[in-house]
Symmetry: C2
Subunit: 510 residues, 2 copies
């Protein structure tokens, strides 16, 4: 039995969306996007399999693990492919964008994975990855916890301008509760902010990308945490109410999303306030121009949890806006009512889960669990529930990856993107035409087989940012003033009148 | 009682060198180099103190530790001093070079430390440090264990051309015995050498430096090991004979120094053969030109042990050559006969020892020792004995350094150089005019107080040497062909005829 399989959450109510946010012409789209050999696995089988995974804590040896005879040809190809493009061609998907965004719950295009969908998923995953790559983790920096670049430079610095989006706003978060390691803290006294962290950004597709994808796409990318094992230990397993019904979500996630304090510079308004204000402004601006608009919210780990809270709030606030969540390695966020409400409001969620990754099993399963605690755990399992469609990835499917126990590696977003890039279907081996640069996997972990000779955790600054000045002394240069976080430029825009937005110029001529 | 003190080994025979290799005019030199307030501590006091150190495993709280009220002024000065020179001025020491090189066993110029001597010590320490800074530790590199640059580029790449020396040869070492972590090994199959490591270099002063220091100075710098704790565990406590008398030295050190194998590319001759051949050639060349010549051998940790073996062999082989050893954090190497022979041959040894560093206590004391094992240990203590003069440094003396337990930090060569730069005498606090860049201390450890905001272990390549090519793929670029180790250029020079040496051009016009 193949373990890498497409399952939707077994608690999901039958597919009858009350709100159809997508207004799609489904028949026409299916004609193009349906795969001839698509299959719909028996629902009971899927449920049994899912329970079996829980019972065995997903450590049952995979039959596919035996396929892992290391493919030297593949490696030789890898070396020869140093001069090939890292992405598939950008095809015009404007006619099919609703289905790709999940209007039909990604039925028939996940297994096998439709190439157009794969490309869009990787695009959103790269936005989520950007929130890690540009983050200042240096606890000796006065800017620890901020983004190293201003929003106009972000994509250029990370080589992401090719995706055709423009960042319109940075989002900052704080928390009123003690969440060790959820937020980064500078060791130094005169820091840019004692309380806040850069937690993500809002971006919007430029004109060219908008033409290609058939609508103006607003993206929100949420940053995750470096040490999910540690934040997990601090889970309070306490559910706080959200919205007007029975929906409840995990206390810590909601605290990050909604905390604010008048005494701070960057969180006089909460992350929630900041992101919603920006999204509402953008939606209004483009709708008034007569454009079709979509909202895609993405994040990895904690970022996936924040994405879901954000989607919930956006769906409550903005009617008739197609909202999709693309999450990677995200934990459970709320109770069944939360899931049901999201579903009823037509929010489409696609969750990517590496089956060896523990984070998506949280809250609900503890590390080092013994089976005697299973009863207690199923209790939690039924309290916190996953939302939407799931695509299961398997570390064993890639000939490039080590399969030994490696929790940070299994959870790493770059591992996810690599596996998505190589995923064809549950039935087929790793995609030989996978184009994403394999070396990226080892940026912050040690997952690639030694034969590839890619150093582990190689993503690092020369001399940690120290430079030798003309006198021969090693100093940390002052940050470019443009890149110093400025709460005035981000936060003090209280006017809601929709004059010409400041980002408009860059959209017109990116 | 000040714990930072100048002691000579209590087993040393009275100062009556049988060979005077220095031909110095001592009276004249003392007139200049004597410090007015120099003192000669009572010999019995020193012995008692030394034993007391051993008994308390040197963990007795230092009275000077209480002086460590963190000096914020000093730090402010440090920040303001980013644009000051990192070295004292180069003064002409040509008249006094013999005393600086130890012809009088550094009597009267160690406490207080004479500024001319300090400057020379730091110069030699920088040569030893170069063997770490340029070493390729990347186990995924096919050149792991080699120097990253060819010898013509080495000093330029490391900013050491200002010292006025030219590298004439690289030295490679192997070992016939298993010494885990003593030598670095590449993980890859097609490596430059399966057996050998770059273990140091021979350099010679250029004309300008030669004029300043009063003689043509040949330097041999030996590389140490990264993990002395680990090599220590593998100490076999086995002494091998050396020379023609009763001298014996530690088996592992001698194996590194003298192993060779016809099946290798870089060690068809041993490190001993390579270095002696080069030194003999240089000595002969410059003596035939009528120049005065000195040999200075330096090294840190294992490198200090190899320096002593090298000095022993050079003294046996080359008559009337002033030979000095400047070692940092070096372990004991041989028995009393070895020490006595070195002394009789007129080899001058100056050992720098940080009192919190454990490595100089090896072999002879084990980590985590309990006092009940002391009897057994004193046995070893009397077998392995230190050689020459010692200058004790104290981590607590520097306001820049953390004092918490930090074995790698206490042993780091950059910590040694920092403490030497700040050392005035046993009676005075850290030198306020110390010029060496404090940031260097944290290159490969975490010893600087947090207030300085210098990242720990900051000496690193951008992205571990990976670069993004024009196709957006991260690749490790091929090494510059000039920097690929070539056994032909280093080793295949079997002719001993002293025609024009290949390095001569660069010496004449450096």
């Amino acid at each position: 039995m193949a373990l890498s399989t497409v399952t939707r959450n077994h608690l999901m109510v039958p597919h009858q969306p009350i709100t159809n946010r997508f207004n799609m012409v489904q028949a026409q789209q299916h004609a193009v996007l349906d795969h001839p050999k698509s299959k719909t696995p028996n629902r009971a089988t899927r449920l049994a399999e899912s329970l079996s995974h829980v019972l065995h804590l997903n450590n049952v040896p995979s039959s596919r693990a035996n396929h892992k005879n290391f493919n030297l040809d593949l490696l030789r190809d890898h070396e020869q492919n140093h001069s090939t493009p890292t992405m598939s061609p950008r095809e015009n998907i404007s006619e099919k964008w609703r289905e790709i965004q999940g209007c039909s719950d990604w039925e028939n295009i996940l297994d096998p994975l439709h190439p157009w969908l794969r490309r869009e998923i990787v695009k959103y995953g790269e936005f989520a990855q950007a929130t890690y790559d540009a983050f200042d983790y240096d606890s000796f920096s006065e800017y620890c916890g901020s983004c190293r670049y201003n929003r106009n430079k972000l994509f250029e610095k990370l080589g992401l301008t090719r995706n055709g989006y423009v960042v319109t706003r940075y989002i900052y978060a704080m928390s009123h509760i003690e969440l060790p390691r959820w937020l980064e803290r500078s060791h130094v006294a005169d820091t840019w902010s004692k309380d806040s962290n850069w937690i993500g950004f809002v971006a919007v597709s430029d004109d060219e990308e908008t033409r290609r994808i058939g609508r103006r796409d607003i993206v929100v990318a949420w940053r995750g945490t470096v040490a999910p094992c540690e934040w997990y230990e601090d889970f309070q397993r306490k559910l706080d109410p959200i919205g007007h019904g029975d929906a409840k979500v995990e206390h810590g996630f909601l605290s990050i999303y909604s905390s604010k304090s008048e005494t701070t510079r960057y969180n006089r308004s909460s992350a929630s306030d900041q992101v919603m204000k920006e999204v509402i402004k953008l939606v209004k601006f483009y709708k008034e121009k007569g454009e079709e608009v979509s909202l895609t919210i993405t994040g990895h780990s904690l970022g996936g949890a924040l994405a879901l809270l954000n989607a919930y709030e956006a769906a409550l606030t903005i009617p008739n806006l197609p909202i999709s969540v693309i999450s990677f390695g995200a934990p459970r966020v709320g109770n069944i009512a939360f899931k049901d409400e999201l579903h009823q409001m037509g929010v489409k969620t696609l969750r990517f889960v590496v089956k060896q990754d523990w984070v998506p099993k949280m809250p609900g399963l503890l590390f080092n669990e013994s089976l005697k605690m299973f009863d207690e755990l199923t209790g939690l399992e039924w309290v916190y529930t996953h939302v939407g469609a799931e695509l299961k990835l398997d570390v064993h499917s890639s000939p490039y990856l080590k399969s030994g126990m490696n929790l940070p590696g299994f959870h790493s977003l770059e591992t996810y993107l690599h596996l998505i890039d190589g995923y064809l279907s549950t039935e087929t081996p790793f995609r030989s035409e996978a184009r994403r640069d394999v070396a990226l996997v080892n940026k912050s972990c040690d997952m690639l087989v030694d034969e590839l000779r890619i150093p582990h955790c190689w993503y690092q600054l020369a001399n940690k940012g120290m430079v030798c000045n003309t006198h021969g002394r090693w100093v940390k240069p002052k940050r470019d003033p443009d890149d110093i976080p400025s709460h005035t430029s981000e936060v003090c825009n209280h006017d809601f009148g929709f004059e010409m937005p400041t980002y408009r110029m860059s959209l017109v001529s990116p």
